[in-house]
């Protein structure tokens, strides 16, 4: 009633629509109504029923039904709304409930909801509002207001409001709330990460399952405490927590790995990310995500230990194998060299040469493999000696000069090459020899040129460019990409013309790279053959100083070698007794003079072998016997035999004009200790005397 009254109060003066009553029969106008322009001047009709005219003008889509659920009024707003199927009130007024919605609304579903709302309002006699969400996403609020007076129902006011927009907003909010809720649950339950919030001062605001698991604190124990309690005392002293917050603020996040402490005092290795959280411009606090990396870290440490162990085993294996393989190889080759020195018949000689050749190849293969293994495992190291490139190149060249007749070997050394630089002479030599050997292998005619130039230098280093230019068969297209790859060989067929392991170039590449350089090749621009090149970086040395030092050292050495033997022999000769067996008096005289000049004062003489034996046996033991081989009556060899048979151990030195290699060995076999060639050279005599006169032991 109040509502009607207020409408009446505000709208009474604005009513313009003609007065109408709800009954099918047209209402009869009373005399006190002015119908000229269809205005109703009052809110009551003649029969006393309320004037429902003004309901036509309400902006809210409204239907007025009487107690019998017959339409008494409909607002224009409803008629003009898209959901209305009719435009004229005449089509609606007087219709009962069942037919009105079908006629009025384009959406029957809405009608159903309206009927439902009405029914509830009827039953409860109270205002009822319900929400209808249409399938097209539009939403309506249907409100039914029952109007009664003195206990009896008069009207039902049905309002229909389009609340699509509000509905959408609500949906969105619900969505958001739902998502937030989901995240909250997520964070709460995650056990592998400690995720929690700090307030702006670093006190703990939230706590999740992971945090509890890692740090051992329950939620109620830790909320409100400062997060620095997880850090070590040292970190706290250094204000690490504070600095992390500051860094997070400044950079947008702060990540750190370090030790964190649990409630029980034990520690774990954590990865921590701290991010500031804002709402608008206000700092709400910090989010902290902590991961326990203790396991990963210990796995890392184990892996590294295992790797180092394996690496150590590998190097030890290499070193051992290297020794085990090379020792017998060298033994074999040394014995072979000695064998070649003995008397061999042609067949034996040929076989021995075959063994020698194979042995040398085998040694090369073994060295290649060992080098390759070392390089591949990173155990290889380059020495840093002071070297002279020019000299190295020249010596390599000299060694190769006679190897392949028919091709010309040329040498081009840049005069600007430094006389001294820091490098590894052995490895540099290895590369050059390998390249040169390849070049001569693959060149049948023309030339092989070795060219070394100072390509570049800076304050600290020289860059040396070494090139081997040949006019050989060149490198075919199909192998050019894989030349420096291990085990790639030019000719892998069964009838291999060119020997080798296929490791040479890959070793050269590794060595060049270890020397700070590169290696490569290109076709010889002269037309035929190839150019193999490599660069090496060598550190500059303080040249002047080194050369001077070297010079001094050499001079000192030279002085020492020339003086010292004479001094030594003069010292050694003191109080020594020598027996000289020589038949020619002129030679005798000369020998005596020589020995005297070397400091010998006690020299006894024998004219032939027999005399020598007699004297040697009779006189007190001599320190040395010089025995001429060719003597009358008894020669030196026979005399020596007799002397030895007599048990005399005195060193016997043969003096012989037959200084052939074979002879010397024969004399040794006969009991002599050494020999000098005739005519006797003083320097050589001194050497031999020094060898056989032990200066430290007293004469026996």
């Amino acid at each position: 009633m109040a509502r009607l009254g207020s409408v009446q109060g505000s709208q009474a003066s604005h009513i313009e629509a003609p007065l109408r009553l709800a009954s099918p029969a047209r209402p009869q106008n009373s005399g006190n109504l002015n119908h000229c322009n269809g205005y109703a001047a009052t809110t009551t009709n003649i029969n006393g029923s309320p004037n429902l005219q003004f309901f036509r003008y309400t902006p809210v889509c409204t239907l007025i039904l009487d107690a019998a659920l017959v339409v008494q009024q409909v607002s224009d707003s409803l008629l003009h709304h898209p959901i209305s199927a009719v435009r004229s009130p005449d089509q609606i007024l007087g219709l009962d409930l069942d037919s009105v919605f079908d006629t009025l609304l384009t959406a029957p579903a809405l009608g159903l909801s309206a009927r439902k709302a009405l029914r509830i309002a009827q039953d409860t006699s109270r205002v009822h509002e319900l929400k209808h969400v249409h399938i097209d996403g539009t939403a309506w609020s249907i409100r039914v207001v029952p109007i009664s007076r003195n206990g009896s129902m008069l009207y039902y006011q049905i309002e229909l409001m389009d609340i699509t927009e509000e509905h959408q907003k609500q949906l969105e909010m619900e969505e958001r709330l739902y998502t937030n809720e989901t995240f909250r649950i997520l964070v709460e339950t995650v056990k592998d990460y400690a995720i929690f919030m700090l307030d702006p001062t670093g006190h703990i605001a939230t706590w999740n399952a992971g945090a509890q698991r890692f740090k051992g604190y329950k939620r109620e124990e830790i909320i409100g405490k400062h997060f620095s309690s997880f850090y070590s005392q040292e970190d706290k002293d250094n204000d690490k927590p504070g600095r992390e917050l500051a860094d997070a603020l400044r950079d947008g996040r702060c990540e750190d790995e370090g030790w964190r402490y649990r409630k029980d005092g034990s520690s774990f290795w954590a990865n921590v990310v701290i991010t500031p959280v804002y709402r608008g411009d206000t700092l709400l606090g910090f989010s902290k995500v902590t991961r326990d990396l203790t396991e990963r870290r210990s796995a890392e440490v184990q892996l590294i230990a295992a790797y180092e162990e394996a690496s150590k085993l590998k190097s030890e294996f290499l070193a051992n194998m290297s020794h085990e393989i090379r020792t017998p190889m060298h033994g074999m080759l040394s014995a072979l060299t000695l064998l070649l020195d003995t008397k061999l018949n042609p067949d034996q000689l040929e076989l021995a040469h075959v063994i020698e050749e194979s042995g040398e190849i085998l040694l090369q293969v073994i060295n290649d493999i060992l080098d390759y293994s070392k390089l591949a495992s990173g155990c290889f190291s380059i020495s840093n000696d002071i070297i002279n490139i020019t000299e190295i190149v020249q010596s390599i060249f000299r060694a190769l000069e006679k190897t392949k007749p028919g091709i010309e070997l040329l040498n081009e050394i840049d005069p600007k090459l430094p006389k001294a630089a820091e490098g590894d002479s052995l490895r540099y030599r290895q590369i050059v020899q390998n390249l040169m050997s390849n070049a001569t292998k693959f060149t049948e005619q023309g030339s092989v040129r070795l060219r070394v130039t100072l390509q570049d230098q800076d304050a600290e280093y020289y860059t040396i460019l070494t090139e081997v230019i040949d006019t050989g068969i060149g490198v075919p297209q199909e192998v050019s990409g894989s030349l420096f790859t291990p085990f790639m060989q030019f000719d892998n067929s069964a009838t291999k013309r060119f020997k080798g392991t296929g490791l040479g170039l890959s070793i050269c590449k590794s060595l060049a790279e270890l020397m700070g350089g590169k290696i490569g090749f290109y076709a010889n621009p002269a037309g035929q053959g190839s150019v193999f090149w490599f660069t090496a970086r060598m550190k500059k040395v303080d040249q002047l100083k080194t050369m001077d030092e070297l010079q001094q050292e050499i001079e000192a050495l030279a002085l020492r070698t020339s003086l010292s033997p004479l001094d030594d022999i003069r010292k050694a000769a003191v109080d020594r007794r020598v027996l000289l067996a020589e038949d020619n008096p002129i030679n005798q005289k000369i020998m005596v003079k020589m020995l005297t000049s070397l400091g010998f004062t006690q020299i006894d003489l024998a004219q032939d072998g027999q005399e020598a034996v007699t004297i040697a046996k009779k006189e007190a033991p001599y320190d040395l016997i010089l025995m001429d081989i060719n003597m009358p009556i008894q020669d030196g060899v026979a005399a020596t035999k007799d002397i030895r048979t007599a048990g005399i151990k005195t060193p016997i030195i043969a003096m012989t004009a037959n200084a052939l290699k074979g002879q010397a060995e024969a004399y040794m076999a006969k009991g002599m200790n050494g020999y000098v060639a005739k005519p006797v050279d003083r320097k050589l005599l001194v050497k031999v005397l020094l060898t056989w006169l032990n200066p430290t032991s007293p004469p026996d």
Partner: protein, 143 residues
């Protein structure tokens, strides 16, 4: 002191090995008098004369073995003094006396040996005379 100019004496070059002779000269205490080396050299002269006499006698008696030994003997001292030509001839005498060719490797007959010996001994004598002259000049001996 070097060879003290001996190699400058005409005829010295192909008869004397300077290095070897120098070693003898080095043993002289006095470079003016050269007592030691002079005594050695003159001893050699005597030795050579006497050896050649013995060779002639043994050639007569066809004692090849002794001739070989004599050749070896003189070879030794001439080698020590660096008297190269004399040394070489003495070596041949040594080989021929052993019924070997001049290099000492191939066998020869006794007749051949004796024949060769005859010529080579004469050759050796001649060579000796020539180098004797050089040496005497060196030691300022005009005789």
């Amino acid at each position: 002191s070097g060879d003290d100019g001996i190699m400058d004496i005409p005829g010295a070059k192909d008869k004397i090995d300077p290095t070897t002779f120098e070693q003898i000269l080095e043993m002289d205490d006095d470079e003016e008098e050269r007592d030691f080396s002079k005594s050695i050299v003159y001893d050699f002269f005597t030795q050579a004369e006497s050896t050649f006499e013995k060779m002639d006698a043994n050639l007569e008696s066809k004692d090849l073995k002794t001739l070989s030994e004599l050749g070896h003997f003189l070879k030794g001292s001439s080698a020590t003094l660096g008297l190269t030509k004399v040394q070489a001839s003495c070596e041949k005498i040594q080989h021929y006396g052993h019924k070997k060719d001049e290099s000492g490797t191939k066998d020869i007959t006794e007749e051949e040996g004796l024949s060769k010996l005859k010529t080579t001994i004469e050759q050796a004598k001649q060579e000796f005379r020539e180098v004797e002259k050089v040496l005497k000049t060196f030691y300022h001996d005009e005789s």
